[in-house]
Symmetry: C2
Subunit: 320 residues, 2 copies
């Protein structure tokens, strides 16, 4: 997240959350501590905490209670990344070696378990049964997303619906829930937290589609991993689905497997870029972005609303 | 669980739960389905569901609502076993090959994740916010137990307190919660569910101590894995702590590591058996059993109370 989008009060609150995250993952077990710190220091955009804080502004905002929601959600996200990297056999994330690559699958497994456990522990600080139901549901969907990811790998005959369901579970839902829970735990009314959920959902869909586009258009430096890595790992994303509408390109895509080299990918990536698939994917992302902005229009005119709009447009234009 | 301890109505309800478990783990992903079914078919004593049902008898018992609690708890337990086997590098459980041994650590990781996800899904059928809080807490403790297990492996200078805390998290807590939640979700009063929690806690402690004794006194056929396997894997249990009170025996125990052969273990096991350590451990188990029976005395005199008492004594005498 580009922090210039946030004002100085929010920045200070954001520091509180970052410090709280460090506390949350502390462990007496040296290896676990090392692995968790490596993960935390690798950064990330922390968009979930940002959305929690901004959504809480629509209720009675108190950083000392809302921080629990923000930390719990970011930790669920981090835990899912660690297990995802095991499933994807990923070596790099955000330019840093993954836990499974630095150590092994086993250590990645229990680092993920540990971070999920810490997240659940933070959740017990939230005294709101609706919040607990929403969070349990979110964890279920994250687990299901993990399963979808396994099931749909190298399954080239999947359709747009499969893709959209997968990115909903993988990304959009947790962003939607971040917006919803920010409002719920700050005591905002039902209409407001339902609108914020919708906003988060649309933004999350738009965000993930752009992420999937960047896998083709980004440089290795920007991505922190080689371009085309998603496809090489068998993750069939929106640009790939559009590219396969061209029969010639489809036959090339169908040949991709774990053994495909980086060099072979270079040619395929540029063919996909030339096919118009990227533009088509962008237009779907823009459609979701528009829907998000439309939802935002229905919310009361507080300062946080403008920041949410700025973030939405920033996400639409982001390059990494 | 020896089903002869249950009457025919309970047996029928127990079948409902077994069928529900099969439904719960169904997956479109072939590998995941295979791994989960292998785990389910390997059986287990299903003591958590039994305690849920019996405790629910202290409230308004309805199998169609209470089954959700029973299934959710048994699935949490199963998920933790799968990840535990990865941590312990275990090849066998209940005489059947483990998932990590049959496939690998990665598949075991996501089978465990999947079963935990299914468990959380069952929990959403429970409309009781106290129940959700208790369950979240239980999952946290199970995660912490997993971490304790990693931290305390081959740490021979641990004391009785470390051991008791570990088995509380590993076993007693989930049994306590099974008893508590059976009562809570059946709408029993607070005094009753607090007593049942205590009963379950004491029974769980007693149960795990006996499990740890059986690792030394059981045969490979009874245990479904070689005797002494816990110690060889670095799990320091109560008999080992007592055995180490003898300096000579201590120096032999300290030499145990992952490379210790089955043959070397045979001599050590018989020395531990001769040291009086087993008797001492049994007396601690009996102490917990007595406390459990004492708690039971305070509960209303319904039929389920007698069954709980029978199960308690059965656990005290079990051979596998």
């Amino acid at each position: 997240m580009k922090l210039t989008l946030l004002n100085s009060t929010l920045k200070a609150d954001f520091d509180i959350i970052e410090k709280e995250m460090e506390l949350a993952i502390q462990s007496e077990i040296e290896l676990l501590q090392k692995a968790s710190v490596q993960l935390l220091k690798a950064g990330g955009k922390r968009i979930r905490p940002v959305f929690v804080l901004l959504s809480a502004k629509f209720g009675s905002y108190n950083i000392h209670t809302i921080k629990n929601t923000a930390v719990a959600l970011e930790l669920i996200h981090m835990a899912s990344l660690v297990h995802d990297d095991v499933i994807d056999d990923a070596e790099l994330r955000r330019g840093k070696p993954t836990i499974n690559y630095t150590w092994n699958d086993r250590i990645a497994m229990y680092t993920g378990d540990y971070i999920l456990g810490s997240s659940l522990e933070y959740m017990t600080n939230i005294h709101n049964s609706l919040a607990h139901q929403i969070l349990s549901n979110a964890i279920i969907e994250v687990c299901k997303g993990e399963m979808d990811q396994i099931k749909d790998k190298y399954r080239f005959n999947q359709n747009l619906r499969d893709y959209l369901r997968r990115i909903k579970r993988k990304t959009a839902l947790l962003i939607a829930v971040s917006c919803e829970l920010g409002a719920v735990t700050a005591g905002a009314d039902e209409k407001t937290h339902r609108l914020l959920y919708k906003f988060g959902y649309f933004i999350g869909m738009s965000y993930q589609i752009i992420d999937d586009i960047l896998d083709f258009t980004g440089t290795e430096k920007e991505l922190g991993k080689p371009a085309g890595e998603d496809l090489r790992q068998g993750n069939i994303t929106l640009p790939v689905l559009y590219a396969m509408q061209d029969e010639k390109l489809k036959s090339r895509v169908l040949k991709v497997n774990e053994g495909t080299t980086k060099e072979e990918m270079v040619g395929l990536i540029s063919a996909i870029k030339d096919s118009g698939a990227i533009d088509k994917a962008y237009s779907v992302s823009r459609m979701y972005l528009k829907k998000a902005i439309h939802v935002l229009d229905k919310l009361p005119p507080i300062k946080a609303k403008k920041t949410l709009r700025d973030i939405a447009f920033y996400i639409g234009k982001r390059k990494y």
